[in-house]
């Protein structure tokens, strides 16, 4: 009993992979030969039907997309770039100025606070400072003097 072509061998034949063994079998086996012929005919008819121009619309009139249109012209591009730079640069410079002002204010504030701290920390007014060296402000030493006088 003759062994007919497998599904894979039939596919091989259809895609053109025709080994000598396949060619010999198809030549000798009428059943396989008929089946292959019918399949090839069906595929050819399908191809013809699908490629029938009546089934497809005419190609659309090609118009270049916006890349070639006038808005993309060089003068417009330069103007747009300049406008963009202004828009970007203005907030940047404004922010920089604000930052400088804030830094100066912070410096002034810290200088003021330092001067206030310095003033508060003074034990006596500046005009009386020469007297400080003449007076002992140590209370414990005063107590010791009083005790010594009692004894």
């Amino acid at each position: 009993m003759i062994e007919h072509l497998s599904a894979e061998q039939i596919s091989q034949w259809i895609v053109g992979e025709r080994t000598p063994h396949l060619v010999q079998h198809v030549a000798e086996c009428a059943e396989c030969g008929t089946e292959l012929e019918q399949l090839e005919t069906a595929l050819a008819q399908f191809r013809t039907a699908m490629r029938e121009p009546a089934s497809a619309p005419a190609p659309p009139a090609w118009r270049e997309p916006a890349a070639g249109s006038s808005w993309y012209s060089w003068p417009r591009l330069v103007l747009a770039t300049a406008a963009l730079l202004v828009l970007v640069a203005f907030p940047v410079s404004w922010k920089a100025r604000e930052r400088d002002q804030a830094a100066q204010a912070a410096l002034a504030d810290s200088q003021l606070l330092e001067s206030v701290d310095s003033a508060i920390s003074q034990a006596v007014p500046e005009p009386m400072e020469p007297l400080v060296s003449l007076v002992s402000w140590n209370s414990s030493s005063t107590d010791q003097n009083q005790k010594a006088q009692r004894q």
């Binding site: 039939i10 259809i14 895609v15 019918q38 399908f46 699908m50 029938e52 090609w62």
Partner: protein, 182 residues
Amino acid sequence: MATAIASSHELDDFEAVVRLHWLKVFRFVLASVRDRHTAESLAQDCFFRAYKARDGFRGEASVSTWLMQIAVNLVRDHARDRRLQFWKRARLTAVDVTTAGSWLPDAGASPEAAALMKEQVQAVWDATATLSERQRTVFLLRFVEDMDLLEIAAATGLKEGTVKIHLFRALHAVRERIKGAK
């Protein structure tokens, strides 16, 4: 490199590119999505994308294969798109399954022979509807667009061996359908 240079020059006159390849792209997309309006839209999108990407075309493949690569990607993306609007529209404008057979030109065949041919075309058309997306793509590129395995591999991004597996499975399904139609 001569091929690359020639191919790059091919894209200079893009209107000619559209005229030359429109039918091929359209019929592949139509057979894939089976909706005329969607096919027209996708085919136009294919050429629009190709136009935008033309500077990047290096000519590793032919312009035709390159366009089919874009078309295959568009069909794949479209298949993934499950928007309700598409399905509503697809139902309204889907290609009638009897249409494929009627596309067959009558080349003086007898009524019986013509009827048999239309049946066979119909059987193949029906079979392609049951294939997986990849099998259908590979089948259409091979048997409608006459692309060889290497070209299909380039267009689909699949390995040649994988292309062959999909093609064999598709052929098996089509053969079974034709047998069943007898």
